[in-house]
């Protein structure tokens, strides 16, 4: 089953739900789970106008994301802010954003990560720097 078809679960210490505005704010040890994707933050704001889940904004010191790529390899990300878009299965990381995909690491001020394709697009902020650190794959054992 595609993750997009799975319900999104939220756990937190407390919550303020505003049905008229379609905004819910979860506070304290917040965990969002959908399939293999888990996002943790201190505060998560959920936008669901007329009950359609649109986006979930996580804030933390940092907020953290753990998921698996399409080959089942672990992906870990951290940022001060994460916006999770369940309909398109994208996560927008901003503020000291970094992603570890297997052995490789990407840093930037803003990173958009596609959970389904495991593709990321990093963009600079004022620092004007995007860093990518690739760990060379293990060289095949030399045969005598």
């Amino acid at each position: 089953q595609q993750d997009t078809e799975l319900p999104v679960h939220v756990e937190a210490d407390r919550a303020h739900l505003d049905d008229r505005r379609g905004i819910s704010i979860y506070r304290g040890n917040v965990t969002i789970t959908q399939g293999d994707t888990v996002i943790r933050g201190d505060v998560v704001t959920v936008h669901s106008p007329e009950r359609e889940l649109e986006r979930m904004e996580a804030e933390g010191e940092p907020a953290r994301l753990d998921t698996l790529d399409k080959d089942g390899r672990p992906v870990h990300a951290e940022a001060q802010r994460m916006t999770f878009l369940p309909p398109s299965q994208e996560v927008i990381l901003s503020g000291n954003a970094r992603i570890l995909q297997s052995e490789d690491e990407f840093r930037g001020d803003r990173i958009v990560y596609d959970l389904e394709k495991a593709v990321l697009e990093a963009s600079t902020g004022e620092t004007g720097r995007v860093e990518a650190i690739f760990t060379p794959g293990e060289r095949p054992a030399e045969t005598e």
Binding site: V10, R14, A15, L17, R20, V46, E50, R51
Partner: protein
């Protein structure tokens, strides 16, 4: 007069007094000593009732119906059986709160709903209905606020949430869940 005869007369007198007391019915016994009327005796009671309560401007504060309402002599508080409380704020869909039993403060500003409590906001254009199930709720009518310390569960199309302890503002349509919150959102269309 020897001791045996005095004892006999005393026993006869006691038996006669006891017999007179037993012979007078419960009603006489109560009337006989008005000071001991039960403080919880009803001043009046109504069955299968509906009450419309207005504020000082004549605006409906709430409509209350139920199987039985009893007003207590002691303090004017009203005890309710199977109450159904309708609360409406201008321009917003109304809420219907029902429970097994209830109590209304003498001034009518506080309503306590006891046992299982269901709070339902009807559907309105673009606004699906909202259902909350909890127990033992205190309603502060002027503030349009309902609070409970017990587990509460909100059910709505495509979404539900639960926690322990709640504060519902019926006018602003906001719900605070105080502890151990779980929520679930259905995936997109």
């Amino acid at each position: 007069m020897n001791r045996g005869r005095r004892l006999g007369i005393l026993t006869l007198v006691l038996a006669a007094s006891l017999g007179y007391w037993l012979a007078s019915g419960p009603e006489q016994r109560r009337l006989a000593t008005p000071g001991t009327v039960s403080p919880d005796a009803p001043e009046f009671f109504a069955e299968d009732f509906t009450v419309w309560s207005m504020d000082e401007t004549g605006t409906l504060r709430y409509r209350l119906s139920g199987r039985r309402m009893e007003q207590r002599q002691r303090d004017g508080a009203r005890l309710l059986t199977a109450p159904v409380l309708l609360l409406q704020e201008q321009g917003t869909p109304h809420w219907v709160l029902q429970s097994e039993t209830g109590w209304i403060a003498p001034d009518g500003d506080r309503v306590r709903l006891q046992g299982q409590v269901d709070l339902n906001r009807i559907a309105a254009p673009g606004r699906p209905p909202l259902d909350i199930r909890t127990s033992d709720v205190l309603v502060r009518v002027p503030q349009q606020e309902a609070t409970s310390r017990t587990p509460a569960r909100l059910e709505a199309p495509r979404y539900h949430a639960e926690g322990i302890g709640m504060t519902l503002n019926l006018a602003r349509e906001t719900l605070d869940l105080h502890r151990q919150v779980r929520g679930e959102y259905a995936p997109g269309p």
